[in-house]
C-alpha cells in the first residue's frame, strides 16, 4: 500500500518518507529500553544517528522532488472515521514540508551532536547524571513530534505534532525540574509554556471545527481545493478560521500577546533553547500560515492582522532585548522579534521570504544559542577553576550567575572559536551583507516597503534595535576585561561542541545563497507548493531586488553597531572603572526607559494580576465556598439531611404523640381536671392513643358528612 504511490511517481524515494517518523521513534525507543545499560557516548550517538538518518531521508525526498516537484501524499492508516469525518495518518511530501524536514533534521542533528558533549557537563554540574539518557529520549521525541507536524497531510495530524512539540518543550524546559527559583522555578516555567500554548491550541481547535463545518474535511488538498467556491459563499467563515488559527500561531510562535512563555522557557538546557525555542518549534506557526496560505489569501483583513501582529512583536521584543543581562534572555527576545519578522512576512503574503528567513534564522539563531551555551559552560568551568585557585577563602563565584553578561567580558581571548562563531551569528542576525540574515531580512523589508509604509518603518526600527542589542551583547561578553574571576578563568569548549558551531557558522555565512536575488532558487523551489493560487501572484510580481531597501537596512544595521560600540565599548569601559558591579550605561543616562525595558513592560505582572490570580482566587472560592461550604455542607448536609432529621424529630414527637397530648390536655381541662396535674402527663397513655383513634373517627366522619353533601 505504501509503495503503490511510487508506481505512479516513477523512480523516487517518496516511499521512504515514513522513515522520517520511524527513525526518531526507533532512536527514542532504543534509548528508552536499553539506554540504562549504554554509555553516554552510545546514547548520544544513537540519538544523533537517528536524527542524522532522518536528515538523509529528508535529503532523498528533496532529490526526488527535483524530478517530481508536485510531490506526493502518502496515506499511512486511518485515524478517526465517523460519518463524514475522515481523518487519517498521512505524509505530505512537497517542497514546503521537505524544507521544514531538512531544517529540523539538519539543525537538529547538529544540535544533537553538540548536546552529546554539552549535556555531559550539564548533568554533572546539576548533579544528576542519570538524566543524560532522559534528555536524549525527550530530544528524539521532539524530533518525532516535529516531523509529525511538518509531514502531516491534514490539520489534525499537524495538531498532534503541534501539541507533541509543546509537550516536549514542557518536558525539556522542566528538565531540571528541581532547580530554578525556589527549586520549582523550572517546573513552573514548563507549566507556563504548556498552558499558554493550550490557550493557543484552543484557538486552533476552534479553527478546526469551523474548517470542518465549511469544508467537511481537514485534509490540506481537500480544503484548499474548495477555497474557491467557499470563499464566494462564506468569506466570513474563512475569516474566522484564519483568525482562530492566528491565536494558535501567537501561542506556538510566541507572538503578541501570548509570547510570555518563551523567555521563561530559557530555563531548559541550552541545546533545548537552540533547537526547540529558536530553530524549529517556535517557527511552526510560520509554517502553519505558509501552509494555509490559500485560506489567508482570500481574506486580506486576516492577512494584514497577521502582518501587524508580527511587526509589533518584532519591534516590541527587540526593545526588551536591549535591557536584558541574561545572555540567553537576550537571545530569547531576539528570537521573538525575529519570529515577528517571519510572521509579518507571511502575513504580507511574502511566504517565500518568511520561509527563507525561517531557514536562515534557524542557522544563525541556533548558532548563537549553542555558542552562548558554550560561553556559559566556559564561565562555569572558570568558576570551578577559580574556586580551585583559592580554595578555603570563598570567592564571589558562589552565588555568581554564569548566564549574567555582567559577570563576563574579555572572553575573546579565553574562547576564540566561540567568539568567532558568535560574531558571525551576531552579524548574520544583525543583517550585515553578505551573511544569511541580510538576504532573508532584506526580502521581508522589501515586501513591506511595497505593502505598507508603516509596517516597513516599524520593521526597520526593529532591525535597528536588533543590530544594537547584538552589538551590546558581543561587547559585554567578549570584549573589555573580565568582570569576574569566573570569566577570567573561563576556557574553550571541547571539539564535539565547537565543530557543530563551525558548521552552523558556515551555514550562517552562506545560507543566503539559497535565495539570492536573481536566482531565487528557494523561491522557485517553494513555488511548486505555493504556486497554483491566483492571489499570491500579487506577492510574486515584485522586483527581484531593491538596492534602496538593501542600502537602507545595511546602513541602519551599521549605525546601530556603531552606536553600540560607542556606548558599550568606549563609554562602558570607562564607566566600569568606578562602577562595580557593572552598570549598563543606558541605565545611568535613561533610567526610566531602561527600567521599563528591563522589567519587560511588566507584561508578566499584568497577566498575573489580570488572569492568573483571579482564576486562582475564583477557583478557590468556587471549590471551597460554593461547592463545599455552600453546596456540599450547607445545602446537602444542613438543608437536606438536617432538615429531614428535624422533620423526623418533629413528626416523631409533636405530631405522633404531642398533638394528641395537646388534645388530651385540652380535653382533660374540659373534664375539670386540673391542668397543673395534666402537665406531668407523659406520653405512653392509653387514653391518648384512644384519643388518636377517636380523633381519626371524628375526622373521617366530618369528611364524610362533607362528602355526602
Amino acid at each position: 500500500m505504501l509503495f503503490s504511490e511510487t508506481a505512479t511517481a516513477g523512480l523516487t524515494f517518496f516511499s521512504l518518507a515514513p522513515l522520517v517518523l520511524l527513525f526518531p521513534l526507533l532512536g527514542l525507543l532504543i534509548n528508552l529500553i536499553w539506554g540504562g545499560r549504554l554509555s553516554e557516548k552510545a546514547i548520544g550517538g544513537i540519538a544523533s544517528g537517528a536524527v542524522g538518518l532522518t536528515f538523509v531521508v529528508a535529503l532523498l525526498q528533496m532529490i526526488s522532488l527535483f524530478s517530481h516537484p508536485e510531490g506526493v501524499v502518502i496515506p499511512l492508516v486511518d485515524w478517526i472515521n465517523i460519518g463524514e469525518l475522515n481523518i487519517g495518518w498521512g505524509i505530505q511530501v512537497d517542497t514546503l514540508s521537505v524544507t521544514m524536514m531538512l531544517v529540523v533534521s539538519g539543525v537538529g542533528c547538529l544540535i544533537h551532536i553538540y548536546a552529546i558533549a554539552y549535556m555531559h557537563d550539564d548533568v554533572r554540574l546539576n548533579g544528576d547524571p542519570s538524566r543524560y539518557r532522559r534528555f536524549f529520549v525527550f530530544f528524539n521525541l521532539f524530533i518525532l513530534a516535529m516531523m509529525t507536524l511538518v509531514s502531516a497531510d491534514n490539520y489534525l495530524m499537524l495538531f498532534v505534532g503541534w501539541e507533541g512539540v509543546g509537550l516536549c518543550s514542557y518536558l525539556l524546559i522542566g528538565f531540571w525540574y528541581d532547580k530554578g527559583k525556589d527549586g520549582i522555578g523550572n517546573a513552573l516555567a514548563g507549566n507556563k509554556a504548556f498552558i499558554t500554548n493550550r490557550v493557543g491550541d484552543f484557538g486552533f481547535l476552534l479553527a478546526a471545527f469551523t474548517m470542518f463545518g465549511l469544508f467537511r474535511s481537514f485534509n490540506f488538498d481537500r480544503v484548499f481545493g474548495q477555497v474557491e467556491q467557499i470563499s464566494e459563499l462564506l468569506p466570513l467563515g474563512i475569516f474566522f478560521i484564519t483568525l482562530f488559527m492566528l491565536i494558535g500561531v501567537t501561542g506556538k510562535s510566541a507572538q503578541l500577546p501570548l509570547y510570555v512563555w518563551l523567555p521563561d522557557a530559557m530555563a531548559g538546557p541550552t541545546p533545548v533553547s537552540a533547537l526547540i525555542h529558536a530553530a524549529t518549534m517556535v517557527t511552526a506557526g510560520v509554517y502553519l500560515i505558509a501552509r494555509s496560505h490559500p485560506l489567508y489569501e482570500v481574506v486580506p483583513q486576516a492577512q494584514s492582522l497577521v502582518a501587524w501582529v508580527g511587526t509589533l512583536t518584532a519591534l516590541f521584543a527587540a526593545t526588551i532585548a536591549i535591557a536584558q543581562f541574561d545572555i540567553k534572555k537576550v537571545l530569547a527576545y531576539s528570537t521573538i522579534s525575529q519570529l515577528g519578522f517571519m510572521v509579518a512576512a507571511v502575513g504580507m503574503g511574502a511566504y517565500v521570504a518568511g520561509m527563507f528567513h525561517l531557514v536562515t534564522h534557524a542557522f544563525f539563531k541556533a548558532l548563537l544559542f549553542l555558542s552562548s551555551g558554550s560561553v556559559i559552560q566556559g564561565v562555569e568551568r572558570g568558576l570551578h577553576e577559580a574556586e580551585h585557585h583559592h580554595k578555603g577563602k570563598h570567592s564571589e563565584g558562589h552565588h555568581l550567575d554564569p548566564q549574567d553578561m555582567r559577570n563576563m567580558g574579555g572572553l575573546r581571548q579565553r574562547m576564540p572559536t566561540t567568539f568567532w562563531v558568535y560574531l558571525i551569528g551576531a552579524l548574520a542576525l544583525a543583517g550585515i551583507v553578505p551573511l544569511a540574515g541580510f538576504w532573508s531580512k532584506d526580502e521581508i523589508l522589501l515586501k513591506a516597503s511595497y505593502k505598507d509604509a508603516r509596517l516597513y518603518t516599524l520593521l526597520s526600527i526593529a532591525a535597528f534595535f536588533t543590530a544594537f542589542y547584538m552589538a551590546r551583547q558581543i561587547i559585554l561578553v567578549f570584549f573589555g576585561k573580565a568582570r569576574s574571576e569566573a570569566a577570567a578563568y573561563a576556557s574553550e569548549s571541547p571539539k564535539l561542541m565547537t565543530v557543530p558551531l563551525i558548521i552552523l557558522a558556515i551555514l550562517s555565512v552562506f545560507g543566503g545563497a539559497l535565495n539570492l536575488p536573481g536566482i531565487h532558487a528557494f523561491g522557485h523551489w517553494l513555488e511548486h507548493t505555493i504556486h497554483h493560487m491566483p492571489a499570491v501572484k500579487a506577492g510574486v510580481e515584485l522586483p527581484e531586488f531593491s538596492l534602496q531597501v538593501a542600502a537602507v537596512s545595511t546602513v541602519i544595521a551599521l549605525l546601530a553597531i556603531a552606536l553600540g560600540w560607542l556606548v558599550y565599548a568606549r563609554w562602558g569601559e570607562s564607566l566600569q572603572k568606578e562602577h562595580k558591579p557593572y552598570v549598563d550605561p543606558l541605565e545611568l543616562t535613561a533610567k526610566p526607559i531602561f527600567g521599563v525595558l528591563y522589567n519587560k513592560y511588566w507584561v508578566d505582572e499584568v497577566y498575573w494580576t489580570l488572569f492568573v490570580n483571579p482564576y486562582k482566587a475564583f477557583s478557590r472560592w468556587l471549590a471551597e465556598q460554593v461547592d463545599w461550604r455552600f453546596w456540599h455542607d450547607w445545602f446537602h448536609d444542613a438543608i437536606l439531611t438536617g432538615g429531614f432529621k428535624r422533620l423526623t424529630a418533629f413528626l416523631a414527637q409533636p405530631i405522633d404523640l404531642g398533638i394528641i397530648d395537646g388534645i388530651a390536655n385540652g380535653l382533660a381541662t374540659l373534664t375539670q381536671t386540673s391542668a397543673a396535674y395534666l402537665r406531668r402527663f407523659q406520653t405512653g397513655y392509653v387514653r391518648n392513643y384512644a384519643l388518636a383513634v377517636f380523633a381519626g373517627v371524628v375526622a373521617i366522619m366530618s369528611y364524610l358528612i362533607f362528602a355526602l353533601r
Partner: protein
C-alpha cells in the same frame, strides 16, 4: 441449557462462581481468596472477549440476544432478556477489563476481611455487566439497584474515616433517582404491555408531553449517577472515602452506567423529549465541564481532584451524547471508555502513593519523579491522556465530542448554537491547568520531605496493573478505528431515529 451456556449469561454470572468458591474458603486463606477472585475475573474477561469475537461489528442491531420468560405476572411477562450491540459491547469489555485490574490493585492494600471484599467485588461485577446487557427494563432495574449494595459495602467497610457518611450518601442519592425511574418503568410497562426495550422502542407511540415526564424520571436516575452538575455532591465523598479499587470501579464503570442509561433508554425511548431537552442538558454538561475543571484546580486531596475532574470529563460525555449526531455520540461512547481507562489509572496511581505514605495531601509530596522515575513516567502519561493530549486516547474522544457539539451547533442541529462547543473547548485549557499543577506538586520540584526520600519505586505487580491501561491509552489515541467501527452502525441507527424527531421539531 443453551441459555445457561449462552455467552452473555456466562459473562454476566461467571463471577458468581468465584463468589461461591470464596464462600467455602476461610477468612485466613487470603492469598488463595485473592487468586481465586483474580482468576475468575480474568476468565470472565476472556469470556467477554469470546463475546467480542462472536459480535458482528457491521450489524447495527442487538446481537447474541437471549430471551427467556422469567416471571409471568398477570398481564405481562418479565423476560430474562440480554443482548449486546455497538452501544454496550465496549462498556461490557471495559467492565470485565477493569475488574481484574482493580482486584490486582488490592493485593496489599486490602488486608482486612479479604473474603468479604472479594465477594462484594465479584457481585459488583455481576451487577455492572448485567446493567450493560439487560434489555428488559425490569431486569435492567434489578441489576441497576443491585450494584448499589456491594458498592455500599465496599465504601462502608473498607473506606476512609468518614466512610459511613459517604456510603449512606451514595446509597440514598442513587436510590433517590432510581425509584423515580422505577415508576417510569412501571408506567411504560402498563402502557406498552411489555418491559422489552426493543418492543417498546418499536412501538414508539408515547405522546410528546408524556415523553417529557418519563424522560425526566429516567434522567433523574441517570443524571445523579453520572453525576451531572449540580447533582455531583455525593461523588467527592464517595471517591475520597472509597478504597482504591472501589474508586477505580466507581469512576471507571459505575458512572458510565448513568451515561449509558441516557444513551440506551432516554435517547431510544423518548427521542422527541431528548431533542427538546438537548439544549438544557448540554448547558448543564458545559457548566459541569468548566465547573468541574475549575473546582479540581485548588484541591489539596489528590483523590478529590481526580473526582472533580470526573465531573468535568463526564460533562464532555453528556455534551457528546446530546449533540445527537454520529460524531458526538460515538465520541461520547469512546470518551466513556477513555475516562474509564484514564481516571481508573489515575485512581490506581493515587492509591499506590497512598499505600506508601498514607496521605493524599499534595503538599506532603514533591520531587517524586527523582525518587520514583517509573512511577513518575507512568503517571505523566496517564495525566496527559486525561487532559487530552493528541496522540493519546483522551484527545480522540474530546475532539470528536467537541466536533459533534459544534456540528450540532449549526442551524438544524440539536443545540443550535456554537457556544456549547466553544465554551466546552475552554475546558481543554482548564484541564491542562489542574492536571499539570497536580503533576508538578507531586513529582516536580526538589524533594523537601524526608519521608519521601526512602519511597520505593513501583514493584512488578503495580507495573502490571498499570501497563495494560497505558497500552490502551496509546492504542485508542493512535488507532481508535477498531473501537469506532464497533459502535458505528448502532450509533448510526440510533441517530437515524433521532433525526426523524429532529426534523419534526418546530
Amino acid at each position: 441449557m443453551d441459555s445457561i451456556f449462552h455467552p452473555l449469561t456466562l459473562v454476566t454470572f461467571l463471577p458468581l462462581v468465584g463468589v461461591v468458591i470464596i464462600l467455602f474458603l476461610r477468612e485466613e486463606q487470603k492469598e488463595i481468596i485473592r487468586w481465586v477472585a483474580l482468576g475468575v475475573s480474568l476468565v470472565t474477561f476472556v469470556v467477554s472477549l469470546v463475546v467480542l469475537a462472536q459480535f458482528q461489528p457491521g450489524n447495527p442491531d442487538l446481537q447474541l440476544v437471549i430471551r427467556r420468560v422469567w416471571i409471568q405476572v398477570a398481564g405481562w411477562d418479565i423476560a430474562y432478556h440480554l443482548g449486546v450491540d455497538g452501544l454496550s459491547i465496549l462498556l461490557v469489555l471495559l467492565t470485565t477489563f477493569l475488574t481484574p485490574i482493580s482486584i490486582l490493585s488490592t493485593w496489599t492494600a486490602i488486608e482486612e476481611r479479604v473474603k468479604e471484599f472479594m465477594i462484594f467485588f465479584l457481585l459488583l461485577e455481576v451487577g455492572m455487566v448485567g446493567v450493560f446487557l439487560a434489555l428488559d427494563l425490569f431486569l435492567f432495574y434489578i441489576f441497576w439497584e443491585f450494584t448499589l449494595v456491594p458498592m455500599y459495602f465496599l465504601i462502608g467497610i473498607w473506606g476512609g474515616p468518614r466512610r459511613m457518611y459517604a456510603a449512606i450518601k451514595f446509597f440514598l442519592y442513587t436510590m433517590a433517582g432510581s425509584i423515580l425511574m422505577l415508576l417510569a418503568i412501571l408506567w411504560l410497562g402498563i402502557q406498552g404491555g411489555t418491559f422489552s426495550l426493543p418492543e417498546l422502542v418499536a412501538q414508539n407511540n408515547i405522546p410528546a408531553n408524556t415523553q417529557l415526564w418519563l424522560f425526566l424520571a429516567f434522567a433523574a436516575a441517570f443524571a445523579i449517577k453520572v453525576p451531572m452538575w449540580p447533582l455531583h455532591s455525593w461523588l467527592p465523598d464517595a471517591h475520597v472515602e472509597a478504597p482504591t479499587a472501589g474508586s477505580v470501579i466507581l469512576a471507571g464503570v459505575l458512572l458510565k452506567m448513568g451515561t449509558y442509561g441516557f444513551l440506551r433508554f432516554n435517547l431510544a425511548l423518548f427521542p422527541q423529549a431528548a431533542v427538546q431537552l438537548a439544549p438544557i442538558i448540554a448547558v448543564l454538561a458545559v457548566i459541569g465541564i468548566l465547573y468541574g475543571a475549575a473546582v479540581s484546580f485548588p484541591q489539596q486531596d489528590v483523590k478529590k481532584l481526580v473526582a472533580y475532574s470526573s465531573v468535568s470529563h463526564l460533562g464532555f460525555v453528556m455534551l457528546g451524547l446530546f449533540a445527537l449526531n454520529p460524531q458526538g455520540i460515538q465520541g461520547g461512547i469512546l470518551q466513556m471508555i477513555n475516562h474509564g481507562i484514564s481516571t481508573g489509572a489515575l485512581f490506581l496511581v493515587v492509591g499506590m502513593i497512598y499505600e506508601r505514605r498514607h496521605t493524599r495531601d499534595m503538599d506532603a509530596f514533591g520531587g517524586l519523579w527523582k525518587i520514583m522515575p517509573i512511577y513518575g513516567a507512568l503517571t505523566l502519561i496517564v495525566a496527559l491522556s486525561s487532559m487530552g493530549l493528541p496522540g493519546l486516547n483522551g484527545f480522540v474522544g474530546e475532539f470528536t465530542i467537541l466536533l459533534g457539539a459544534w456540528e450540532a451547533g449549526q442551524s438544524g442541529g440539536s443545540l443550535g448554537s456554537y457556544f456549547y462547543a466553544g465554551f466546552a473547548a475552554i475546558g481543554v485549557i482548564l484541564a491542562a491547568i489542574y492536571m499539570l499543577t497536580m503533576f508538578q506538586k507531586l513529582f516536580l520540584g526538589p524533594v523537601d520531605k524526608e519521608e519521601n526520600r526512602t519511597l520505593k519505586d513501583l514493584n512488578w505487580r503495580e507495573i502490571v496493573t498499570l501497563v495494560p491501561l497505558i497500552v490502551l491509552i496509546f492504542w485508542i489515541g493512535l488507532y481508535p478505528k477498531p473501537f469506532f467501527s464497533l459502535m458505528a452502525p448502532a450509533v448510526d441507527k440510533l441517530v437515524g431515529n433521532l433525526a426523524l424527531s429532529i426534523a419534526a421539531l418546530p
